[in-house]
Assembly symmetry: C2
Homo-oligomer: 232 residues x 2
């Protein structure tokens, strides 16, 4: 019997990389799926490609999608990424870096890929604890997507169930890192930053960097990723 | 007060064009959205552009999407389109022309576009009567997508409801054409064919052509669209 197949959404960031490691540790044959969606930095995709290989993904596909022509987000338009915000001020708000319907679009592609490949699971690294502001990271959104997906496809009509796995959903950032380190993830090769420099070094000051740095600090660890201005 | 805004999925085929006419007649400001998704014929998009203008859409966007790299359908891969099948043999089966998760992907983009533009409705021309084989044309799929969409977005969190309008869902093809003719739709400029020639003339023999031709015949009308080998 062959291993069950899972589609894994892989951005190259800390969360999605840990998710891939968890899917691999659960014995899944993993098809990693990344998107080029008008990010201001290609560096993420270079890291995603490298990490897919390192973590033993069976395939890695990069799909071009065109959310930028809709506008409306700091990640795809020319808006300044907020810096040096206190972590306490982040919760509740929907971040300026929110991309309209992004997880819905990403999961829809994953659904198409799952149907074609016969995968029975989609793994994604959403997390409802640290970033409570993103509507499409909430458990009720994931549940509703799964219900819809099981009505959408030929596979579903034929009785094959598709499940959405979000293993990080209720973990803190520190718990995610702890789990990843147990599974041998090299966090030096991941980037979570909203505003890295041309060489891919993280800014250390955007919301994503602040949360990540605090989590490593809480664990008494040094974040092995490269930061701008650091001597590493 | 300005007219309410609706996103209208527009392929250039008979159903989606009638849907746009219905949305316009209902007083909506319409943003038409078409997709270039590895169709074998660009002709559809030329018609969509022309019909969007004729029917008074305020904007028309064509988004490139990349379902072809997943494979798995006659519309995007090099599989022969079935011809000359009796209409009675079509129902029940999922057609070979089924594209994995297509309506889910299309609606996800429409959702992103709705959020950015503040649209409160998405219109799409799915129809559960003539093509009962498509899983993502069923009422329960549309309902599930709407529920998911209302959990997915910043707009939803802020209390703005999005509704999915599928005005053709329970109409027969003949009823759709009757409604469109009342609204002044020029069906000579629409193409429903799965296998048109280079000039855009319909084959007259695929499942879509067979259903369309029978509907016009049932109404005692001649289909004004160009067909291959016809002297029109």
């Amino acid at each position: 019997m062959t291993d069950p197949t899972a589609i894994v959404l892989l951005s190259g960031g800390l969360d999605s990389v840990t998710t891939l490691a968890i899917a691999r540790a659960a014995g899944r044959t993993c098809y990693a799926l990344s998107f080029r969606y008008g990010q201001r930095h290609e560096h993420e995709l270079v890291l995603a490609r490298r990490l897919a290989t390192t973590l033993g993904a069976a395939r890695h596909l990069v799909v071009d999608i065109d959310l930028a022509q809709f506008g409306g987000s700091a990640l795809t338009a020319n808006i300044d990424v907020p810096k040096d915000r206190p972590i306490e001020s982040m919760s509740g708000d929907i971040p300026i870096t929110y991309v309209p319907a992004r997880n819905t679009v990403f999961l829809s592609y994953a659904l198409a890929f799952a149907e074609v490949t016969g995968a029975e699971e989609i793994y994604l690294g959403v997390n409802a604890v640290d970033y409570s502001g993103y509507p499409d990271c909430r458990p009720e959104f994931i549940d509703a997507f799964e219900k819809m997906a099981n009505l959408a496809t030929k596979a579903a009509v034929e009785g094959r169930h598709l499940s959405i796995q979000a293993p990080l959903l209720l973990l803190t950032k520190a718990e995610i890192i702890t789990r990843g380190l147990e599974l041998g993830v090299d966090y030096g090769s991941t980037s979570t930053c909203y505003d890295p420099d041309a060489a891919g070094a993280a800014c250390g000051r955007c919301d994503a960097c602040a949360l990540r740095l605090r989590a490593f600090a809480d664990l008494g660890l040094r974040d092995p990723a490269p930061y701008q201005g650091a001597a590493s």
